[in-house]
């Protein structure tokens, strides 16, 4: 929904409080474990916001976006591990490669609709996993590549505590959310909304569906690739299972849907809810109860869908509408 100009000062204050809460997190969170979880929230929140540009805004449910994530992650680890170059160089490389792949897969899959599009993109994941396992001299095969321990600093992206990396990830998340908000309220945003609501009508309204979806996919691929690159720098290790994992695919989609696909802040909210819950579940219920931790995660997903198919964001927008009488 287009966020209509509600009372601006109220909205500015809310954003500033949120920004302050985000950037001061390491201060009031003390343990580096919680800061580390926040790094994952920022990285996967950014990646899911990237996915949402095409998945949520245009309702093109892609199950293959982890391909871009894996490309970005491998770029960093290959640059820093094998070639000994700075990870910052890997980020633009990851973006370029991801955009190329996006153009290649976008062309054939955009004619498909609904389940066909989701399943076609689903097939990309195993293809890239098999290639990454087989192409040993580039990706180190399934043994993977680990980055040697380098002196800490902004240039190597290695630090003694997760806090500095958190700030980088938080800046990425903020930038990506600004992009998502800009797209939401831009010409492209309105076109994507039209495609989502009624594809035939959008064609009759003169919208070039293919070009609009391709623009969104390219932006989405770039964002997910950057998040992947930083993830590679954060883990300092990458193998095919971590780069092209089914779990990442699910997470990109779930965070957006749980948070609310129609809001530029939805995916970040979904990540903020699900990642800590997932960590908490597997931390509390370990040992022989480990399976119960994962089971709880599954139950949470079903409850969320049964009671709020439009995601938590949908819930907020209803509450907000009742409170302020305006659409969120």
């Amino acid at each position: 929904m287009r966020s209509l100009p509600t009372s601006r000062p109220w909205r500015i204050a809310f954003y500033l409080v949120a920004l302050a809460a985000l950037f001061l997190a390491p201060v009031y969170l003390q343990s580096s474990y919680s800061v580390r979880i926040l790094v994952l929230v920022c990285l996967f929140g950014a990646a899911s916001t990237g996915w949402n540009l095409i998945g949520g805004y245009a309702n093109q449910i892609s199950l293959g976006h982890t391909v871009f994530f894996g490309i970005g992650a491998y770029a960093t680890v290959i640059f820093q591990g094998t070639l000994g170059l700075s990870p910052w160089l890997a980020i633009p490389t990851g973006i370029v490669l991801a955009v190329i792949v996006a153009l290649l897969i976008g062309w054939p899959t955009f004619q498909l609709s609904g389940h066909y599009f989701a399943l076609a993109t689903l097939a990309l994941l195993p293809v890239f996993h098999i290639i990454a396992t087989y192409w040993e001299d580039l990706t180190g095969g399934s043994v993977g590549i680990s980055v040697p321990i380098l002196p800490s600093g902004l240039d190597t992206l290695q630090f003694d505590t997760p806090t500095p990396f958190f700030y980088i990830a938080a800046v990425l998340l903020v930038l990506v959310m600004i992009l998502a908000r800009w797209v939401r309220q831009s010409v492209l945003g309105l076109q994507l909304d039209a495609i989502r609501l009624n594809p035939q009508a959008s064609t009759l309204a003169g919208v070039n569906q293919f070009r609009a979806k391709m623009k969104a996919l390219v932006m989405s691929a770039a964002v997910v690739a950057v998040a992947g690159s930083l993830y590679g720098a954060f883990l300092q290790f990458m193998d095919p299972d971590t780069a092209f994992s089914w779990n990442t695919t699910l997470n990109l989609v779930l965070f957006a849907m749980v948070g609310g696909v129609r809001f530029w802040w939805g995916p970040a909210l979904g990540a903020l809810i699900l990642i800590p819950f997932g960590e908490f579940a597997s931390a509390q219920l370990t040992g022989n109860l480990a399976a119960l931790g994962q089971l709880a995660y599954g139950v949470l997903l079903i409850l969320l869908v049964l009671f709020q198919p439009r995601g938590i964001g949908g819930l907020f927008s209803i509450v907000w509408q009742k409170a302020t009488g305006r659409k969120l």
Binding site: P26, V27, S146, I149, D160, V171, Q236, F237, A291
Partner: protein, 425 residues
């Protein structure tokens, strides 16, 4: 104080370089919360001799769900059994009978989760003195990165070679690296054949193309080339195959004298059934993994007899911990359970001989000491001895063979009791 933070962040909006905000944040942190301990660094403990505590903390991170859940849980059973035995026998006597307090975390077969779990252990109020774990090499690598920075010893039972080449000072690997395992798997087979008057000239190498399979297969191939044997087949396959027929027809077609296979449980059973279905009687030399597990013999019954496998410790030498495991869990003690139990005994003996609550100090002693208590005694050579790169110099692979459905150590003669039986003799 809070307003300042608000005004600062208003000027420093997101566009400024994150580093500046970090500096402001950290400065505020110090003023807001006084001098907090901060970070996971716990070198603040003391290392004096007579240390009396009521418990010593040990962490373990293992894949308890997901595709390698079985190996993760076997390892956990081994660790829990060792902790139970040590605490029952009075804990760490030199530290006033301190009991070992074990905390576990599920790495869910995901490298990032493993690293998160390690960070969680090390950032809680009282971090563990040491961590045992991670079974799979991908998980172990990410955990090692966290423990290395936090100067906390990581006792690993994985085989991955890379970890011992990184110059880590807090990484200790009990079993031999996969390159050693691959070489021994090949050479022992040649010696056993010669001992039985047979010869192996054409070899087929078949491996699951995960980290463990690939690194061990590389070593096997290198050893075969060095020994001048012809490798008639060197074939990787995806670990989650649903039908081994096609791969086995390739093996049978290549007519090898010996089959070297590196596989987990599902693919090893599928391979064995397909080999039988296609009437192959070529001797099989497994590379640990699926070949030495209780599920292997439960699934195949008598068909397991005569199958060889390399492994990291001699099963018929597991003695009383082996018996205790059988009684507690109802199946013989798998290799990963034994080696993890040995790691716990090494941890306990190190504290017994060099009591400390400082992990850096413990790490130093782990490099110096020789550990032969409990399950460590049934590691090859009777004791565990880490060099400065954390490799157990005493680790020597053992070749075992299934003889009437139980695993017997058969090679090398100097450290085993059993005798190899050449298939079909």
């Amino acid at each position: 104080m809070f307003n300042d933070a608000l005004t600062t962040s208003k000027q420093h909006s997101a566009r400024r370089v994150a580093w500046r905000v970090a500096a402001v944040g950290t400065a505020l942190a110090l003023t807001l919360t006084g001098c907090s301990s901060g970070g996971g660094d716990n070198s603040s403990g003391n290392g004096s001799k007579n240390v009396k505590v009521d418990e010593v903390r040990l962490g373990t991170i293992l894949p308890l769900t997901g595709s390698t859940a079985q190996n993760g849980n076997n390892s956990l059973h081994g660790i829990e059994l060792a902790v139970e035995q040590i605490n029952a026998a009075g804990g760490i006597k030199s530290m006033g009978g301190a009991k070992i307090k074990l905390s576990t975390a599920d790495a869910t077969s995901d490298a990032a989760k493993a690293a998160s779990a390690a960070t969680q252990f090390l950032s809680k109020g009282e971090p563990p003195l040491a961590i045992v774990g991670a079974y799979a090499s991908g998980l172990t690598i990410t955990v090692a990165r966290v423990t290395e920075r936090a100067k906390v010893p990581l006792l690993s039972t994985g085989f991955a070679d890379e970890l011992t080449h990184q110059g880590y000072k807090y990484f200790f690997q009990l079993p031999p690296a996969s390159s050693l395992m691959g070489a021994a798997q090949f050479n022992y087979a040649i010696d056993i054949a010669k001992d039985a008057g047979k010869s192996i000239d054409k070899v087929a190498i078949v491996y699951a193309n995960n980290a463990y399979g690939e690194s061990q297969a590389k070593a096997l191939k290198a050893q075969a080339d060095k020994a001048g044997k012809t490798v008639v087949l060197n074939e990787g396959y995806s670990p989650n195959i649903t039908d081994a027929g096609p791969i086995v027809s390739k093996i049978v077609a290549s007519k090898p004298d010996a089959i070297y296979s590196i596989a987990y449980v599902p693919d090893s059973v599928l391979l064995m059934r397909a080999l039988k279905a296609q009437g192959s009687d070529v001797p099989i030399f497994g590379g640990t993994g699926g070949y030495i597990t209780p599920d292997f013999v439960k699934a195949l019954g008598d068909q397991v007899n005569d199958v060889f496998s390399i492994t990291t410790s001699n099963p018929d030498g597991y003695g009383d911990i082996g018996a205790a495991y059988l009684k507690k869990y109802g199946e013989f003690m798998p290799q990963e359970a034994h080696d993890n139990a040995a790691a716990v005994y090494v941890f306990a003996q190190a504290l017994e001989e060099h009591p400390t609550t400082d992990s850096t100090d413990l790490a130093k002693y782990l490099h110096e000491g020789k550990f032969d208590q409990g399950a460590a005694a049934s590691m090859p050579g009777g004791f565990v001895d880490f060099d400065e790169t954390g490799v157990n110099v005493n680790a020597k692979p053992v070749m075992v063979q299934w003889q009437n459905k139980s695993l017997i150590g058969v090679w090398p003669a100097d450290i085993v009791k059993g005798k190899p039986v050449w298939p079909g003799q």
